[in-house]
Amino acid sequence: MDTNAQYSIEQCPTTPNQLARMTGVLFSKVIGSVLWPAVVSRLDIVFGVGVLSQFVQNPGPIHWEALKRVIVYLNTTKGLWLIFGGNSEVLVEGYCDADWASQKHRHSISGYTFYLGQGVILWSLKNQHIIALSSTEAEYIAETHVTKEALWLQGFIDEVRGPRDVPI
């Protein structure tokens, strides 16, 4: 995605003329088909798909162009595979981040990912419910979001390979 691009609801068509230009554009269908790889293995497009899927109801030309860019990227990098494993000791590690009010609606986005050994096993992107007043607060909310997932993951992994007292 373009690093400087801003996508907001103001860019959605409102006049009949603008709406007519967007008829026949299969925006929701295309979003649906890129959502699948984003959820299953292509975590590099998660941000783009996550932002653009907010405009499914009434997409504007700028959103459509951005979506086409995601598809072009997917086409040029279709050889990328998500590789699991690694030789190091199998530990669970999490990374979390939040952007602070980068979108026009000012809800921060929290994102996280978990590694098992050297392979990524979990990832997520989510708009935060409340509007954070500082970047620290946004990150703090993101941390809480990760903690919830981490506790679940810890329970699951303990069940699979027996309990260990190593914090995530």
């Binding site: 941000f47 952007d99 990912t113 620290t136 703090y140 941390e143 809480t144």
Partner: protein
């Protein structure tokens, strides 16, 4: 667990009350409990190395490519 904001890490580790953080919803202090019970550990990581960055903003090409590699997305023809 890794995070790239020193302030948020300090808040999570420190159980004291600060008037500046009064407004943060009680619910979000759940992380303090998890750290106290030693269920999770939180560490600082510089923004350049925080892989979760790829999920929260549009990155420029060189950084994006570096993260894609680190995430274990590899071209199967080159393996």
């Amino acid at each position: 667990m890794h995070c790239d904001n020193q302030g948020a890490i300090a808040l999570a580790k420190d159980n004291k009350f600060h008037s500046c953080t009064k407004h943060i919803d009680l619910w979000y202090h759940f992380i303090r409990e998890a750290i106290e019970d030693k269920k999770i550990e939180i560490e600082y990581v510089p923004t350049e190395e925080n892989i979760a960055d790829i999920f929260t903003k549009a990155l420029a090409r060189p950084r994006f490519k570096g993260f894609v590699e680190k995430l274990g997305l590899k071209d199967f023809k080159r393996i």
